[in-house]
Amino acid sequence: MDGLITPRTSPIDGYDFDYLIQEDRVHRQIYTEEPIFKAEMNRVFGAVWVYLGHESQIPNNDDFVQTWLGQRPLVLVRDSTGKIRALYNRCTHRGSTVCRQVSGSAKAFQCPYHGWTFLNSGEIRGVPWPEGYAEDFSDSKFNLAQVPRVDSYRGFIFGTLNMDAPPLLDYLGPVAKPLAEWVDRHPGGKVSLCNANRLKLHGNWKLVYDNSADGYHVVFSHRSLLAMENRLEGADEKGMTFYKENPDSAPMYVYYFGNGHHFKDKRGNVERDKPGALWEIEGVAPGMEYFEAKLRREHPARANEFLDLAASEPMNINVFPNLHILGNHIQVVRPLSVTETDTTWWGTAVVDDDNTLDGAVDDINAIRMRTQEGFPNFGEVDDLMNFEQIQVGLQAEEDEWAYTHRGLGLPDRYSVDEAGTIKGPATDEVFLREYFKEYRRLMTTEPDIQIARDI
C-alpha cells in the first residue's frame, strides 16, 4: 500500500482477467472475490449505462425515489423544472444521506444532521448560521453531486458516470428494439410501475445475469412449477409448457446483442397476430375466469385484445448490467456485496390516459396483478435457491472453473446478422460466453468516472 493510488484507478492486483474469463469457462473467483466485486462497482457499474428507475415512479415535478448506482445511494428526482436528475444521496458537508424517505415529493432536501439544505436540482440552498463560515456557499463544490449523464429510453431511466460511454441509444443498440416492442403493445406505448415482488439472495449478482437468458435450466430448476401448472387436466398448453419437449427444437431463440445485452425470444411459440393468443397460454390466476367472462360480456369485439394485456409476452430482455424484462415484470438487480444481491420484480400496470380501452383498464389490471404474482412465488424462489447453492459450491478453491461452452464448436449452430447480433437455439450458452467477453473488456478498462455539481 503506497497510499498514492485511489481505489478507483488501481489495477486489480493479482487478477488476470484473460485467465479468469476463457472461451469455454469462467473462474470461480469472479463470483467469490471481494476485490473483484469492489472493482466491478467502478469498472462495470461505473462504466456503463445503469438502469436507475422508471419515469412512472416520478410522474410529476418535485417527485423523487431512492435508487442505487452499484453501491452509490442516489435520489432520482424530477426537479422543479421537470428535469430528471440522479442526485447523490450524500450531504456535501459530512457525508450523511439527505433523503431518508423511499419516495415522495419534495422541493428541497434538508440533511437531518446539521441542517444543510439542497434544492431538488442539487443546488445548495443554505446552511445554518452561515456567519460561522469564512466563505459563502456560492461555489458549486457545495452542491450535491449528481450523475453527469442521465437519459431515458421509452420510460426507462439510465445514468452513467463514464464520460467516455457512448450515447444511451448507442449503448442499447439492438436491444432497444425488443424493449420498444415490449412497451408498444400497451396503450399509449407505456406502462406504470405498481409495487414489486422483492427478493434477496445470498449469491453474487452475476448469477442472476447468467440465468436471465438461460433456456437450459427451465425444466430442471422449475420442475415443481411445471408440475404445478400441469396438475389439473386441461392445462397442457398453459404457462411454460413449451419447454416440455426439447426446447432447442421449438421456435424460440437466444440472441446476443453486444455490450452485454441479451435476449430470449419465445414469441415464436404463439401466433403473434392472433388476438387472444397470449391469453390462451397464460397460466391460471385468481379471478381470471370472472374477469374474462366480464370482459367478453361487456366488450365482445375487443375482449381478446384486452385479455392479451392481462397476459404477458414470452420474452426475456436483459440489459446489462441490472435490468431485465420478463413477461410483464421489470426486474432490477442491486448488488449488495460479493455474496448478497437484491432482485426486485416490479409489477407493471396498463395505463389508459386516452381511454382507448373503453373503460376496461381496471378489469385488465385486476387480472394482470394476479398473473404477475405467479412466477416470483412459484418459480423464482427455486432459481434463487439454486443460485445460492452455486455460491456454496464455488467455495471449493481448487475446483476452479464453471463451464459456459454449450453449443461451442458445433457446426451450423448460430447465425449472425448485419448488426452483429448472434442467434442460437434456446438452451445455448453463447449469450454467456459473449457477455463475459464484454465483462472482461470492462474489467480491464479504466472508465473516466466523473460527477457533476454544476446545475
Binding site: N197, A227, A366, M369, M385
Partner: protein, 196 residues
C-alpha cells in the same frame, strides 16, 4: 339468472368485483375499540383456532391447514402497508382457493428446490384481539406472529401480525381471509417460500 356452480379449486369466479370491494372495505379501519369483543370465551375460541393453525403449519399438515379455510377463501400477504388495493398493486402473495392448493402442491413436491431441505419452523401467535363486524356470523382477529425458520444451517425469522376474517358455519369457525402483514413487507425477502 342464477350463477352456475363453480368448483373454486378448479376455477376462480368468486374473486370478482364484489369480492375485491368487500375485501378492501373489510380490511380498512376495522380494529376499532368499539368493535372489540372482550368476551373471554370468544377470545379464547379464536386464540385456540390461531394456535391450531400455527401447529398445523409447523408440522407441515397442509391438508389439515387447507381444511380450516372456507371454499371461497383468500390467503393474502400484502406488499403494501395495511394491504393497499390489490386490484392495482401486486402482493407478496394473493392466493385464492386454487392458487392456495397450487402452493401446497408445490411445497409438498420433492422438486421445490426452495424447500429442499424443508424448512423447520416454530411459530408464536399472541396478542389476540377479536373484532365484530356488521354480520354476527363474521368476526375478525388481529394477532401478532413470530416465526422462527431453520433451513440448511441458516436461522431466520418472520414477524408481523395476522388479520383473520372468520365465519361461523353453525359448527365451527372457518377462515374467509387470512392476511399476513410482515413488518418488512416493503423490503427484499430471502426465500419467502414457507406459508406465513
Amino acid at each position: 339468472m342464477t350463477a352456475p356452480e363453480h368448483d373454486p379449486s378448479r376455477s376462480s369466479f368468486y374473486i370478482d368485483d364484489d369480492f375485491y370491494r368487500d375485501l378492501v372495505d373489510g380490511f380498512t379501519d376495522w380494529q376499532t375499540d368499539t368493535a372489540e369483543i372482550t368476551d373471554p370465551a370468544q377470545r379464547d375460541a379464536c386464540r385456540n383456532l390461531l394456535e391450531r393453525e400455527a401447529r398445523y403449519l409447523d408440522d407441515c399438515r397442509f391438508d389439515d391447514w387447507l381444511g380450516m379455510f372456507a371454499p371461497h377463501c383468500l390467503y393474502w400477504v400484502p406488499a403494501s402497508k395495511n394491504g393497499g388495493d390489490p386490484r392495482h398493486e401486486v402482493a407478496v402473495a394473493f392466493d385464492d382457493r386454487r392458487r392456495l392448493e397450487d402452493r401446497v402442491f408445490r411445497l409438498t413436491s420433492p422438486y421445490a428446490w426452495s424447500q429442499q431441505p424443508v424448512s423447520r419452523t416454530s411459530r408464536l401467535v399472541s396478542n389476540v384481539a377479536v373484532f365484530g363486524t356488521d354480520d354476527p356470523d363474521i368476526v375478525m382477529t388481529r394477532a401478532s406472529f413470530l416465526i422462527s425458520e431453520f433451513q440448511a444451517g441458516d436461522y431466520r425469522s418472520w414477524a408481523g401480525w395476522y388479520g383473520h376474517r372468520l365465519h361461523w358455519t353453525g359448527d365451527c369457525w372457518e377462515f374467509l381471509v387470512k392476511q399476513g402483514n410482515l413488518i418488512n413487507y416493503d423490503q427484499n425477502l430471502r426465500n419467502p417460500s414457507i406459508i406465513l
